[in-house]
């Protein structure tokens, strides 16, 4: 078989294999780094041993390697999780009923919550080895990456065009073949986009995931996150600067070496007709495609994969009794529903009893009040951010000369972990003796406001040219121009951005309402600081309570506000 997918024109035209030689060092270096980093991760380790950690900038490349390795392992795990989850949820209705609400809940649980609960289990899994702790850290990163990928894949699998599904059935594709030939390719663009978002999400919690507190002692795994944690402890602003620099290098590297090539390669999976956007390009992918020696290697893997496709095939067709559809047992389904309802009720009962005995109702009420304060913060700040960024975004979006460039910048800023800027804020607040309840709040949207910006830019640059001309022709100006033309035109993309921004702000509140710099700790009254504080002193029942309440708030917001706005936008305000 000559799989023409990996043989574009360039291959036929390019004569020599200088591309092989150019890529050889890169490939070898990657392999060596992987192997070395891998062995470092699985060193013998006893609980209580202190891992050496220094603020020397020369150690940063090594830390960067370790952190990146962790993040990619987590990303791989997330991908696997997403595939299994989406396949199960999209294929079995019974599974869907449990999995989707479960994911909805998991998604709104802040990452710190997972870490403090799971770390002991992971350490017990690999006794005497560092890998247990590594696993805990990887799991923490996983929890910040997996959910949105799983949701995106599930949504895509549900929306596979019906005529393609019919074609795959008429031509006898088995479930395995359908997944690889139809479902995954169809889901690829959205999945990739979510993978990139997940990587950014991972960076945001890199400090929390690497500096782990377990049984009254803290383990700091070698990595950028621990480096930052140490720098904060020692109030070393210069080291923070170095860490930011290393992180920027890391982001650029994996963007160029990993996501760019993937994006350029995945462009063919775009389902929409017509090419509205310019196809993304990647120098690395072009290089790879021009090599001669690496190509057969890749082709062999593709061929192996192709063999798996022919191996897991459908052995019978529609004339066999096995193809007969089993009638869905109504009784069975009802029993399953009853079982689910019973499980939910029991869980609720246990939860209520737990709250009653462990923390008391007064505390629960207090936490609800704290939640409302944080809710107020999220709403006010999202509104403020919108007030600033919507006009700016529209202005940029309508200027094609700027929009391409600045949209990239905004995406990069969204990927950048804003919590690195927190120490500066602390210094500022302490210096001027400001009220932390007010002045810590802006930190919540520091990282998430960019989602608003680049979505609005995208929306504004997507306004049809005819509409633009019509507005000019009618001489729309002033407030009327905004009310009748610009604001409705960007509304759908604004809602998309605001959903992401407010969701991110809730998660960020745990970090933003409770900021430490050396031995100074600033605290804003709110649900985030409550959870962060309880995590710091290790009070499990209260952590659980705080997380539970935050889940309720986030899910309530999603169902009552965002989904409605989204539906409104979908229904009325699109071109």
């Amino acid at each position: 078989m000559t799989d023409k997918r990996f043989f574009p024109r360039q291959v036929v035209e390019s004569g020599g294999n200088r591309w092989d030689w150019a890529l050889l060092p890169l490939v070898l270096a990657l392999l060596v780094l992987l192997a070395w980093g891998g062995t470092q991760m699985a060193r013998p380790y006893q609980l209580g041993e202190v891992l050496p950690l220094t603020l020397d900038p020369n150690a940063l490349p090594y830390y960067l390697l370790r952190t990146t390795l962790r993040m990619f392992l987590a990303l791989g795990a997330s991908l696997l999780f997403a595939c299994v989850f989406a396949a199960l949820a999209a294929k079995y209705r019974a599974a869907e009923r449990v999995l989707v609400p479960l994911l909805d809940i998991l998604q709104s649980i802040p990452i710190l919550g997972f870490l403090s609960i799971t770390v002991t289990g992971f350490i017990a899994l690999f006794p005497g080895n560092l890998f247990g702790v590594e696993c805990a850290a990887i799991f923490a990163i996983f929890t910040s990456q997996a959910w949105n990928m799983a949701f995106s894949l599930y949504q895509s699998l549900r929306t596979v065009p019906p005529e393609l599904q019919e074609a795959s059935r008429v031509f006898q594709l088995s479930g395995w073949q359908r997944f690889w030939r139809l479902e995954l390719p169809f889901a690829m663009p959205a999945l990739l986009w979510n993978m990139m978002m997940s990587m950014s999400g991972g960076w945001f919690f890199v400090v929390a995931s690497e500096a782990i507190a377990v049984s009254q002692q803290s383990i700091k795994l070698p990595g950028i996150g621990s480096y930052i944690a140490l720098a904060i402890e020692q109030r070393d602003l210069q080291a923070i600067g170095w860490a930011i620099g290393a992180m920027l290098v890391g982001i650029v590297l994996y963007d160029q070496l990993f996501f760019r090539p993937l994006l350029a390669w995945a462009d063919k999976f775009r389902f929409e007709e017509g090419s509205s956007d310019a196809a993304p390009t990647s120098w690395l992918l072009t290089w790879l495609r021009r090599t001669e020696r690496l190509q057969p290697f890749a082709l062999r893997i593709v061929a192996l994969f192709g063999r798996s496709l022919t191996l897991f095939r459908r052995r019978h067709d529609g004339t066999s009794i096995r193809a007969r559809a089993r009638p869905a047992g109504a009784a069975l389904q009802r029993a399953w529903d009853a079982l689910l309802a019973a499980a939910v009720l029991i869980a609720l009962w246990h939860l209520l009893r737990f709250i009653h005995t462990e923390v008391g109702w007064a505390e629960a009420g207090h936490v609800l009040v704290l939640g409302s304060i944080t809710l107020l913060r999220v709403l006010v700040l999202t509104a403020l951010a919108a007030l600033v960024w919507v006009p700016v975004g529209i202005w940029i979006g309508l200027n094609p000369r700027w929009s391409g460039r600045l949209q990239g910048v905004a995406q990069f800023l969204a990927a950048f972990p804003a919590n690195l800027m927190f120490p500066v804020a602390v210094l500022f607040i302490v210096r001027w003796k400001l009220n932390p309840d007010v002045w810590l709040s802006p930190l919540m949207v520091l990282g998430t406001q960019w989602y608003l910006l680049f979505n609005v830019i995208a929306g504004a640059s997507g306004i049809p040219t005819e509409l633009r001309y019509a507005a000019q022709n009618l001489g729309l100006s002033g407030w009327l121009r905004w009310r009748r033309y610009l604001l409705p035109a960007v509304f759908p993309s604004f809602v998309t951005g605001a959903i992401t921004a407010s969701g991110g702000s809730w998660n960020a509140s745990i970090v933003a309402e409770y900021v430490t710099w050396g031995d100074t700790t600033l605290q804003a009254k709110g649900l985030g600081s409550y959870i962060a504080h309880m995590t710091a002193i290790g009070d499990f029942p209260r952590i659980a309570l705080g997380i539970g309440v935050m889940c309720v708030f986030v899910m309530g917001m999603n169902h009552l506000v965002w989904r409605r706005l989204y539906r409104l936008a979908e229904d009325r305000m699109h071109f």
Binding site: M1, K4, V170, L182, K268, F269, R313, G318, T319, R324
Partner: protein, 434 residues
């Protein structure tokens, strides 16, 4: 001749929103024998697409037996392939990979399937495009890929679901001729073809038998045998006469009603999806010197350049409103229609509204209900619910949309899209109150 696939008393119903079953097909008997091409004609919503999907094994029948080579059919069978209206190509696979799909699914070795795919690509006239992605191809080329993909698995039965209707007329005709050439020269392994179409001429040119479907619930209304040698000339007298005959059969009993007789339509009558301005245009054309009030439907189709599935609803709409009359495949302008065409905008609206209230019970019911409200307005939901008692949700929505569009044109009622509220027009509301 040997029967390949046979349906006996097949029925299919879908559950509507309130859980009641709505029959799409009822008591359909059908057999497809070796060596024949059968065309299926019918209005949209007559269940011909559903029937095709039952034959393809994509959806199970609720009642009756589906047999393929004497065996019951539970799912898609290897010997049955399908060509889709929207091509249904996998956009990320090259032409060759798309064509190989069915072979790969059967576990055929890479070398053999490449050889077969290349042969099929050659046969269908796509040689040189093996490595292209579907998005690089024009519509006609894409459908060629769709056909090659179906032919390469050497199906006994080839199902075509309006395979040429997404193509422009010229491309569609050429592709159809090529398929027929392959068929008559026995260069394709297929033993029988079933072609679902809404183009009457296409059906007559292709088929040995034309089956005409009736709607609500879908069933075979009549069948017509076509025994002309291929290739058939669309301008020949025989073909023209057959086309005429099919037009007459298709429009018979739909909306034909002597003017003046009280409306006997059910409330949830499936209003034809007829655009108001198009109906206006068609009436004007009909009143023109060219037709002078009487038009042969095939000629009208030619003159308006409308496809059959666009033209027929218009004629039904006009006939329903008593502005024109359908008889034996011809459309006649009624005296009322003449007044309508000659009138100015206000008179037209007035006539349209008056006829709407007189002959469309749904419109009359909406109007009547509105007049009983003090505010003169009602949300659309109760009407939708009423319709979905006997129509499925999408169809109910479509019928109400049509009624609203007609009502707006005739100033019988108004509708606010944002709130979904139907209300009496401004002037009349006060009249109703006073």
């Amino acid at each position: 001749m040997k029967t390949l696939i046979e349906l006996k008393g097949v029925g299919k119903s879908f559950r509507s929103a309130d859980g009641s079953a709505r029959a799409v097909l009822e008591g359909v008997d059908f057999r497809l024998a070796e060596g024949e091409i059968v065309s299926l004609l019918g209005q949209s919503g007559s269940g011909k697409s559903t029937l095709l999907r039952i034959l393809a094994g994509l959806i199970p029948a609720d009642a009756g037996d589906v047999g393929y080579r004497g065996q019951p059919l539970h799912g898609p069978a290897r010997g049955i392939a399908m060509v889709f209206q929207s091509f249904a190509l996998f956009p990320w696979l090259t032409v060759q990979q798309n064509v190989e799909l069915g072979l790969e699914a059967r576990g055929m070795a890479p070398d053999e399937r490449a050889a077969r795919a290349l042969a099929a690509i050659q046969l269908i006239g796509l040689a040189g495009f093996e490595g292209a992605l579907p998005r690089e191809l024009s519509g006609g080329m894409r459908q060629r890929v769709g056909i090659a993909r179906a032919l390469v698995v050497e199906p006994e039965i080839l199902l075509m679901d309006e395979a040429f209707s997404a193509l422009d007329v010229l491309t569609g005709e050429r592709l159809r001729e090529e398929i027929l050439a392959l068929w008559t020269s026995r260069r394709m392994p297929t033993k029988a073809m079933l072609v679902v179409s809404h183009n009457i001429q296409e059906a007559v040119l292709m088929a040995d038998r034309v089956l005409i479907f009736a709607s609500d619930p879908g069933r075979v209304r009549c069948q017509l045998s076509v025994q002309l040698p291929r290739p058939r000339d669309p301008d020949s007298a025989e073909v023209r006469q057959l086309v005429d005959e099919v037009y007459a059969l298709m429009t018979a009993g739909t909306g034909r009603r002597p003017a003046g007789e009280p409306a006997a339509l059910p409330l949830a009558h499936r209003l034809p999806q007829a655009d108001v301005s198009r109906m206006d245009g068609l009436l004007e054309l009909l009143a023109d010197d060219l037709f002078a009030g009487h038009a042969d439907l095939p000629k009208l189709a030619e003159e308006t350049e409308l496809a059959d599935h666009e033209l027929l609803p218009l004629t039904q709409g006009l006939s329903l409103l008593g502005l024109a009359q359908l008889a034996d495949g011809d459309l006649h302008l009624t005296p009322l229609g003449r007044r309508y065409v000659d009138g100015d905008h206000t008179l037209r609206q007035q006539l349209f509204g008056q006829q709407l209230l007189a002959s469309v019970p749904l419109a009359a019911h909406i109007r009547h209900s509105l007049e009983q409200e003090d505010s003169g307005e009602l949300p659309q939901e109760p009407f939708l619910r009423l319709l979905s008692d006997s129509l499925d949700a999408a169809e109910a929505e479509r019928v109400l949309r049509t009624a609203i569009e007609w009502g707006r044109h005739g100033e019988v009622f108004e509708y606010d899209y944002r709130t979904g509220v139907i209300r009496l027009p401004e002037g009349r509301q006060e009249a109703a109150e006073g």
